[in-house]
Amino acid sequence: MGIRISHGIEGHSHGEQREQRGPKAIIFACRWCALIGADGAGKNRVQLPLNFRVIPVECAARVEPDSIIRAFSYGIDGVGVLGCHLGGCRYHNANHRALKRLDLLRKLLDTVGIGSGRLLTSFGTAHEYHQFAAILGGFFQELRGLPPLDEWARASTIGAIKYDP
């Protein structure tokens, strides 16, 4: 299962009407914490912004920077990584390591011009449904202030990573 670098992103057609729908976000939710918050938001019928998709992960530390960058290269405006509170990780101190790594990525995002504001990292703050809703609401508020990433990212992303199927 090797990986291959390809130029351009084949096979991803993004509709032009996207801009009207507002920003899009991917939330990587640790299944011990933020996923419970997301689930709780559903149980409590909290109305949330439409354009977010949750990808459950076993631990926030599993989210590789590649995936986050790939999400941006697909024109997704914001990526959130929500994990357990520091010291409360189910996997020992894995989320400390995730925090450090994502802080580094934040610097990288600033350097390349995507901007660290598009990456939301939060630990231990989304376990309750109202916390999840508030974090998501705040993130969308922030993303609405930023220009859409679609065209810009697709034009400027050179060599998006594509994995061998």
């Binding site: 299962m1 090797g2 559903g42 990808i55 992960v57 409360g88 020992h92």
Partner: protein, 568 residues
């Protein structure tokens, strides 16, 4: 493409909870044309036994090898649905649950059209994951019905005695000549004031008489290898190096008493002792002192050691009472920052000490007592916070109560066994309600190696660790996926693509469980994962520079495909 049309999609109406918002019929029509889907159907309520039975029958008849279920969240009824299908013989890797109720219908009630679009994306993400994901291979290991206990203090002795009684073969390794650990250094055991010999007698007897227990005095550990079920620990004694094989390891190596070097003129002025020296004097015979002052929290609960050692208060109460008993006319003061004696027994003990005439004075951290005297201690001056006055206490002996600190050799042991230490050097247990288990399966900690405890508590912990070890070694074999420290099975076990691995060692450094190791494979450095230690957290996946270590359940391709489908 026909070979890929293997998935059957089942959409759940949830009696209108989902179908009132999401247009399931149009989703079904779109799914029928989907390149990966062989058939799609809508059901009323999958969590009902009848629907589940009908569904599994449909799956069997359709010959589909992948099943996608779009229903409620796994935390609601999703997990029972998956469990029910697994029980009916469907492999977990062929099942995918997409949450379109909590994750879509209920949170986008006011936008049915948007919700339907989102549900379509979510189903596509689920399909992308479903066609790709695998289940980690499970491995099993045979379990040795033997336990290695490191350290023959009260905790280790209690653990060994319990296991011996249960018929488990125990190897009890002690570094010094005598068993008993720190109890060998003290006069009486707080708070019941039995002698250490009395306290240890039943356990020593068990170790002597039980043929299951082998005792190795004056023995050091050299190295440790292996994993849960089969550890191989090399030990060294006077005769040479032996290897002890054990299914589980109990670490009860204890702590060491800190000496108050450089504090309160310790070592420079006669009559200033540490608590452990007083114990030695009390053990030897009556102590000749009339006016004794104890100072608590010396080198503890400060910036360097911001912890309460939890044993010094009961120990000082015990020694103060012993001194009063020897010389009823003597004056004993305990200068403290707070007397910490939790639980009904210790609180009662505190009150008993006060009733016996021991006097307590509280001081503050920023205003510690001052010891005066030219060649021998004469006076202790202390600011009493209760009265707001400076007190001058005549003293011919000052006892400094220092905390227990992590043993200086803990680091080497932790490195050898793959254990972790907290910032104070004590060995760490697995967080979240695992009081004796460590992050390494099959290794348990008890006694002061983990945290300073009184003898009684050490014994309790030793017995607890023994029971945990017994649960492990009493079986015939252990399955790697079942070694989850949470309910159910592990999410995954990391898998290394040996061809792609460059042997950089990132995963070795970052794994919180020391499951990855580098080794030579055909002359090249490669990482391998110990399936027993791996917990499937995926931390290694995120640091692998070329994606050669992956979780089969959710590899980078799955995440990539999910991202690609997320807003289609």
């Amino acid at each position: 493409m026909d070979d890929k049309r293997t998935a059957i999609c089942v959409l759940c109406r949830c009696y209108g909870e989902i179908s009132d918002v999401i247009d399931l019929d149009s989703l079904k029509n779109m799914l029928t044309d989907h390149p990966l889907v062989s058939s799609a159907e809508i059901r009323d309520c999958l969590c009902l036994e009848a629907d589940l039975e009908g569904l599994s029958e449909t799956i069997r008849q359709s010959g589909a090898n992948k099943v996608l279920i779009a229903a409620c969240s796994p935390l609601a009824r999703g997990d029972p649905i998956l469990r029910g299908l697994k029980q009916r013989g469907i492999h977990p890797a062929d099942l995918e649950l997409v949450d379109i109720r909590e994750g879509c219908a209920w949170i986008h009630k006011d936008n049915p059209q948007g919700a339907t679009g989102k549900a379509w994306d979510l189903i596509n993400m689920g399909l992308a994951s479903l066609v790709r994901k695998e289940r980690s291979e499970d491995t099993t290991t045979l379990v040795r019905h033997e336990v290695l206990v490191l350290g023959a203090g009260p905790a280790g002795l209690a653990a060994a005695a319990s296991l011996g009684q249960l018929g488990v073969k125990v190897h009890l390794v002690e570094r010094s000549k005598r068993p008993g650990g720190m109890l060998n250094l003290i006069s009486r055991v707080a708070p019941d004031e039995t002698s250490p010999q009395e306290k240890l007698a039943p356990y020593l007897k068990a170790v002597d008489e039980n043929t299951n227990i082998t005792y190795y005095p004056s023995t050091h550990i050299d190295s440790a290898e292996g994993t849960v079920g089969n550890f191989a620990v090399k030990v060294q004694d006077g005769d040479g190096v032996h290897t002890i094989h054990a299914g589980a390891v109990i670490v009860s190596t204890g702590a060491q008493a800190l000496l108050p070097q450089g504090l309160y003129r310790y070592g420079k002025l006669k009559g200033v002792l540490s608590a452990i020296e007083l114990e030695r004097h009390l053990k030897a015979g009556p102590v000749q002192a009339q006016r004794i002052v104890f100072i608590q929290c010396v080198a503890a609960r400060d910036q360097a050691r911001p912890y309460c050692s939890a044993i010094c208060c009961p120990v000082s109460l015990k020694n103060a009472m012993a001194l009063r008993k020897e010389h009823p006319e003597s004056e004993v003061f305990i200068l403290h920052r707070d007397i910490i004696c939790p639980g009904s027994t210790l609180e009662h003990y505190y009150r008993k000490t006060m009733a016996k005439g021991v006097k307590f004075i509280r001081f503050e951290e920023q205003n510690p007592p001052v010891i005066e005297g030219d060649d021998h201690v004469s006076t202790v001056r202390v600011y009493d916070t209760a009265t707001g006055t400076m007190r001058e206490l005549h003293a011919d002996m000052v006892v400094l109560s220092t905390p227990l600190a992590a043993h200086k050799d803990t680091h080497g042991l932790a490195r050898m066994l793959g254990l972790t230490q907290d910032h104070l050097g004590f060995l760490e247990v697995h967080p979240l309600m695992h009081p004796v288990e460590t992050t390494v399966p099959g290794i348990f900690i008890c006694g002061s190696a983990r945290w300073p405890v009184l003898a009684d508590r050490a014994i309790t912990q030793g017995e607890a660790a023994a029971m945990k070890a017994f649960c492990l070694v009493s079986g015939q074999e252990i399955a790697a996926l079942g070694l989850s420290q949470f309910k159910g099975e592990k999410f995954a076990i990391a898998r290394v693509d040996q061809e792609a691995c460059t042997g950089c060692g990132n995963c070795v450094h970052i794994c919180p469980y020391e499951a990855c190791t580098l080794g030579l494979v055909d002359g090249a450095s490669k990482s391998t994962v110990d399936p027993m230690r791996c917990t499937g957290c995926g931390t290694c996946v995120a640091v692998c520079p070329n994606g050669s270590i992956q979780l089969p359940e959710q590899d980078a391709v799955v995440i990539g495909e999910m991202l690609a489908q997320s807003f289609s």
